[in-house]
């Protein structure tokens, strides 16, 4: 029990700063950025909008936990599904901290770090293109007013009287921070239990013994371990049982699909969409790995 609690709480503590950052960004978006402006910037969800949204992930250093409240807020503001998903999938994997940590972990192997980020970008854009239509639209009521109804407002006659901006900021911040901390708590507990059922060292050993299974096993490890995208490169490097391609698959899949994200995505997008998204993203990672293998890169 002590060990279970310590391992679970360690995941939550590690994610804490990113959740606070994500909740702060979400609150700033809610209070200061009009929904119409966001919808205009994000566009109608065409391929170019999706590509731009994925590239926007480079400038915001938030990991996969912190991005969820931001994306939930953008969705509530009516941002089109395509750019929204591209940003969700790309931001945790292509941002500068992730690139730098991959570079450091793999001993200044620039090609590997570039391949990691470029592959993540491709998967984000591909995933957004394939999944945009599958995501149910935001409830008309929420889209109309530009936020959900735990927004901290006294009512919806805001034009008449709104609380001061700082008061609305803290109300949104507290609500978002607690929601995401709650999802992370469930996700961290699930990750600890699953890591117990599927010991990572044994899965890595299996990948070493069966090279053909190395890529899917690398993805399975990423899903089970639920490591922060800003540190996952060190874990991948230590798994010498994995081929470089399987290490890349680990690094591509982890930031977009793991146990804690399963809980978080389910709360924001619904279970059915989450399952579909994970399967689609897994297919894209496998396809990209296959293409690289055929091209003779990173085998």
């Amino acid at each position: 029990m002590t060990a279970f609690a310590a391992l679970t709480i360690s995941i939550i503590i590690e994610g804490f700063p990113y959740i606070m950052l994500g909740a702060a960004l979400s609150a700033l978006l809610e209070v200061f950025v009009p929904a119409a402006a966001l919808r205009r910037v994000a566009g109608h969800g065409g391929p170019l909008n999706i590509l731009v949204a994925a590239l926007a992930g480079i400038v915001l250093p938030v990991c996969e936990c912190g991005i969820v409240p931001v994306v939930a807020r953008l969705r509530a503001k009516g941002v089109a599904n395509g750019p929204l998903l591209a940003y969700l999938f790309a931001a945790p994997a292509v941002q500068p901290i992730v690139f730098y940590s991959t570079l450091v972990a793999f001993n200044d192997n620039l090609a590997f770090a570039a391949l990691r980020c470029a592959g993540s970008l491709v998967i984000a854009v591909g995933g957004a293109l394939l999944l945009a239509r599958a995501l149910p639209p935001v409830a008309a009521e929420r889209a109309a007013c530009g936020h959900d109804h735990a927004c901290g407002c006294a009512g919806h006659d805001e034009a008449a009287a709104l609380p001061p901006a700082w008061v609305r900021l803290i109300a949104v911040f507290v609500t978002d921070a607690v929601r995401i901390l709650a999802y992370l708590t469930v996700g961290a507990m699930a990750a600890t239990v699953l890591a117990l059922l599927l010991p990572p060292a044994r899965v890595a050993a299996l990948a070493g013994a069966w090279p053909l299974l190395a890529v899917p096993l690398g993805m399975l490890l990423a899903f089970v371990l639920s490591v922060c995208s800003e540190a996952d490169a060190f874990v991948a490097y230590a798994m010498t049982g994995l081929t470089p391609l399987a290490q890349l698959a680990f690094l591509w899949f982890g930031p977009v699909a793991d146990i804690k994200l399963a809980v978080m995505y389910s709360r924001v997008f619904g279970r059915q969409f989450t399952l579909r998204a994970f399967l689609t993203l897994a297919g894209l990672v496998l396809l990209l790995a296959l293409l690289l293998a055929l091209a003779g890169v990173a085998r």
Partner: protein, 262 residues
């Protein structure tokens, strides 16, 4: 005219306050590195400061009657209270408990250059290794060579019980010392081991004690001839205080480059 008020869920507020206070207590006691890697400490402290400012602002808003407390977000708050309870409890499992829980097999991290580090030599001829690298290097050497024979070493570790110790056929009385290598948090920690001959007759029942062992490295074959394991012929075993941080950090180890094709 009524002052416009923002709605604030009271259960969420209490849960966030309790979690933040518990984590601040852990940080204040300098125990964050028991749970996360040192590079996460500063972001956590900054986030704690930010959360503290928000909670003070909430207090100010309450006093100024700018917020209206509501009984919402109860389920979410309950889950966060669970996490807050764990943070206040501050569970610190022993190394042996952690290893047994995670079913960590023999081997652990294998990512070395196959060379022992050029550590400084003390007055008695022992290399003063801080443990950041030597375990990993010795582990990598196990299967490959025995070039490290006669390397005199001063090494820090925690006495432990090795899961599957029978598989390496440890001689009677021998000890195993270990360090955990943590990448980002305790959930990903993996052990690296060193078997110690225990010529000093150190009491075996003192599991989880931190010790410094000074001795000479050699290697012993695995019973099935599949390789070797590192073995320290001790000259001296001394009980010491736990080092800070207790975990090893692989990114501080000078690892070899990995080519894109192996």
């Amino acid at each position: 005219m009524n002052t416009p008020r923002a709605a604030l869920p009271l259960p969420a507020l209490l849960a966030l306050a309790l979690f933040t206070a518990g984590l601040a207590r852990v940080a204040w006691a300098g125990r964050l590195t028991r749970y996360v890697a040192p590079r996460f400490v500063l972001p956590i402290e900054v986030a704690l400061a930010g959360a503290g400012v928000v909670l003070l602002l909430v207090l100010a808003a309450l006093l100024a009657r700018r917020v209206r407390l509501q009984w919402q977000e109860r389920g979410m708050a309950l889950l966060v209270l669970l996490a807050a309870a764990a943070v206040w409890w501050r569970p610190l499992p022993s190394l042996a408990e952690l290893m047994a829980f995670k079913d960590m097999p023999l081997g652990g991290v294998r990512a070395g250059q196959g060379k022992l580090p050029p550590a400084p030599v003390d007055a008695d001829g022992y290399r003063e290794c801080d443990g950041q690298r030597v375990y990993v290097e010795l582990d990598a050497l196990n299967d490959t060579q025995i070039a490290a024979h006669s390397y005199r070493l001063s090494l820090v570790g925690q006495l432990t019980v090795l899961p599957g110790a029978d598989a390496i056929d440890l001689p009677p009385g021998a000890l195993v010392m270990a360090r955990l290598v943590m990448v980002c948090c305790a959930a990903d920690a993996q052990p690296v081991y060193m078997a110690v001959a225990n010529r000093a007759g150190f009491d075996e029942t003192r599991i989880d004690d931190w010790v410094r062992v000074r001795g000479t490295v050699s290697f012993r074959p695995l019973p099935d001839d599949s390789g070797w394991y590192a073995w320290l012929e001790d000259d001296e075993i001394t009980a010491i205080a736990p080092p800070e941080p207790e975990y090893l950090q692989p990114q501080l180890i000078d690892l070899s480059a990995v080519p894109l094709s192996r």
